[in-house]
Symmetry: C2
Subunit: 497 residues, 2 copies
Amino acid sequence: MKLKVKDVDIATKGVQIVILHQSDAEKLDIYHLDRIRITKGKRTTIAIVNIAESEKLVPKNCIGLFEEVLDVLKARDGSTVNIKLEKKPESIEYIKEKLDGKKLDYAKLKQIIEDIIDNKLTDIELTTFVTSYYIHSSNMQEIADLTKAMINTGEKINFGKKPIVDLHSIGGVPNNRTTMIVVPILIAAGYKFPKTSSRAITSPAGTADTMEVLCSVKHTIPRLKKIVKDVGGFIVWGGSVNLAPADDRIIQIERPLSIDSEAQMLASIMAKKASVGSSHLLLEIPVGQETKVKTQSKAQHLKRMFKSLGRKIGIKVMCIITDGNEPIGNGIGPVLEAKDVLYILSNDVRGPSDLKNKSLMIAGDLLHFVGCSNGRKKAKEILESGKAMIAFMNIVKAQGGKPLNANELKLGNYQYTVTAKKDGYISGFENLGIARIARIAGAPRDKKAGMFLHKHAGDKVKKREPVFTIYSKNKIKLDFAIETLKKTKIYSLRCRR
Amino acid sequence: MKLKVKDVDIATKGVQIVILHQSDAEKLDIYHLDRIRITKGKRTTIAIVNIAESEKLVPKNCIGLFEEVLDVLKARDGSTVNIKLEKKPESIEYIKEKLDGKKLDYAKLKQIIEDIIDNKLTDIELTTFVTSYYIHSSNMQEIADLTKAMINTGEKINFGKKPIVDLHSIGGVPNNRTTMIVVPILIAAGYKFPKTSSRAITSPAGTADTMEVLCSVKHTIPRLKKIVKDVGGFIVWGGSVNLAPADDRIIQIERPLSIDSEAQMLASIMAKKASVGSSHLLLEIPVGQETKVKTQSKAQHLKRMFKSLGRKIGIKVMCIITDGNEPIGNGIGPVLEAKDVLYILSNDVRGPSDLKNKSLMIAGDLLHFVGCSNGRKKAKEILESGKAMIAFMNIVKAQGGKPLNANELKLGNYQYTVTAKKDGYISGFENLGIARIARIAGAPRDKKAGMFLHKHAGDKVKKREPVFTIYSKNKIKLDFAIETLKKTKIYSLRCRR
């Protein structure tokens, strides 16, 4: 059937969509969300049909093309195209199998992941995949196949000879910016550490956001290779390299319902590590009421799963289970967290000791993991000798930043400090409450926004002594954060220990 | 935040959607598919956000409104509106509970169904509900609650005193147009029979499509009440009355993956029956390789489920399990099926005996079910005396048609007859193959299109004798149907029985 093109001036950034008038759709027995093949001269593509009931957007005998389809066909308003009904991608059959509880093999999973990346699946189809995967627990073979499918459909970067060390934390703990301390310690000890990190999704700062305070976190793959060669490693935003790209689309589906599929999490984390050739991964699993992992038994289970998946795809995994109930570090928000890191690296007394000790423990364990005897002692030596700071500054320079000290980093001009209402002890902070206030103040987009904790859990506090300070560069946002404090618990105070 | 309206000239026919430029979305920490409240003067509504990366469709400081949103706000291009982030509908929490395998109570199910009808849920959220419901088997209490939620969110029509009889077939058998014979027999016997039927979705004709050959199948509720009062019953398209309206939206989600949730099917069928006040329902479950129900044990299971659900919502259910392997009747397609029905009602020898016998059995069982002794004998008397034909013609007239006889119904001018290649016996027809060819020829939209079976399973056939004829009013469609015959099996021929 020949139809006249109408440029409807809409882009999806993804799936190719066309709009048919209902009467034309009926002629070809085409339904909403069916697929059609559209041909113009030698160019051809497959798109998903939306049906218009009125002629307002797309008149009869016309076809409304979204920008993505216009581009592929090199079509424009008034061109003529030919359409015919196209069968569904095979991957839909496989998704249906998963829905019915069957295990999928590598070939089928790879086809699904490829079709996700090529934007061939609608939200309905992809949601069915995600929820089926969530409900029908996967066995390790299937998770390994999913991981391999994700690895083999994205970029793979070869940084040369092993060992290549890596670090990942399951997340949910404010600050916890250990990565920026552990990476330079390991590099100073002579190991390659190509670290890709995430930006904050629901937290006030991710490692990539914090690193971005100091230098660019987006680099091309050839540049990344050169950086590793020159300075031993980097800390960049994973989203800027195309590692396991299906992940983003899957997360987009999981977000509205906060679906948290274990198989999907395992595959997505490990695929990204495998894509940069990591040989030794230290995985931190913080356990706490307000973190992703709430119980010790869940943490132990995840530990087994990660180690087992690592064996299947050739990554040695070491897991440490940590206490995730309290924030680690003083600052929450990109600049505040960067200051904590710089204080520790420069052995400044203002460096928070909890973050320092945790980073040394992780760096030590990682050194031990790759074969150093007395890893923790070595980590401490490297940090205290200033070698870690030098390695870190080399990274910052290699990533296009200039060396700064913590005092040079400025915070938002608008501040508000909360003081203790009575004498007592801080019995604990609330991770979610802290994250919420810091985000409302503007973090992570406003890098200078966030919250500084003057006290930690267990600290003694006197009446009118500051407990925390909120920073923002925007007065309205600060006011809204203060307003929100009324209904948000940040800490608990007890009269006696 | 104040934004300027841009009319983007798109309609969804459902969910309210707005488009924000990425930079504005970032300011308010709004993500793709988040919900916002939009206010213009005293008018306010909630819509789902899509995010535009370029300024082509929606520039910064503007908000693109879909037609549905413009209508509700009485806004136009250039108006100013105020937006703020809105929390998600509560039903999303309940969908999450179902995803996690919990049972939902009536109040939660009703909230979900209401939000479905009000178009408050995105495809992702609704698909999660549908797939979770599909995977996590429901208990009878939950199915009954879902059914009640569907009943209480749609129209309910009161046709007065009981008994009110009803009939439903699970489907998948070509023709099988028993309804149009059973309804007039029961009406002639003095029972009220307000029958709502479906149109074809993937078959060549539904009862509503076939009835529409003779009269209108869309009537208002006051008109339907008058028809029942005047002539005892009707046969109309269920979609024209607003019974259990959530059903359509759910089916739209199930269609792309052919998801077939038992709980959803039970609830949707029974809610529609309850909405018209049915007291006695005869349910036919055809079992066959190419029907919805493939095994006897599945049929027995469904029988128990329907009877049990009936008890919970106050409908007496009688189930008959029939052989669904072969088409019932000679014609497939609206006009061809109407002809079969009219031949039988007028006791013409051209009436297919299989359809006649099956209709008499069902009518007899239904009569027996409502208390008539010797129901089958009575059904036969009513049909053969011509009383059923009179009752049927009264319905046709009441629904705005004029009485016709079978010979007056014309078929598509383009025909193609397939003859036997050798002597033998027809060992069977293929339901799916028949449906496919009849649809390609144009059925059900082309009412005159379809397939006529000259022979039935078990019939002797001689070389060059006609086996079936395809009809279409469109030469191209007929050619395509003939082309498709090459790769589509319609019947099997054996040399000996």
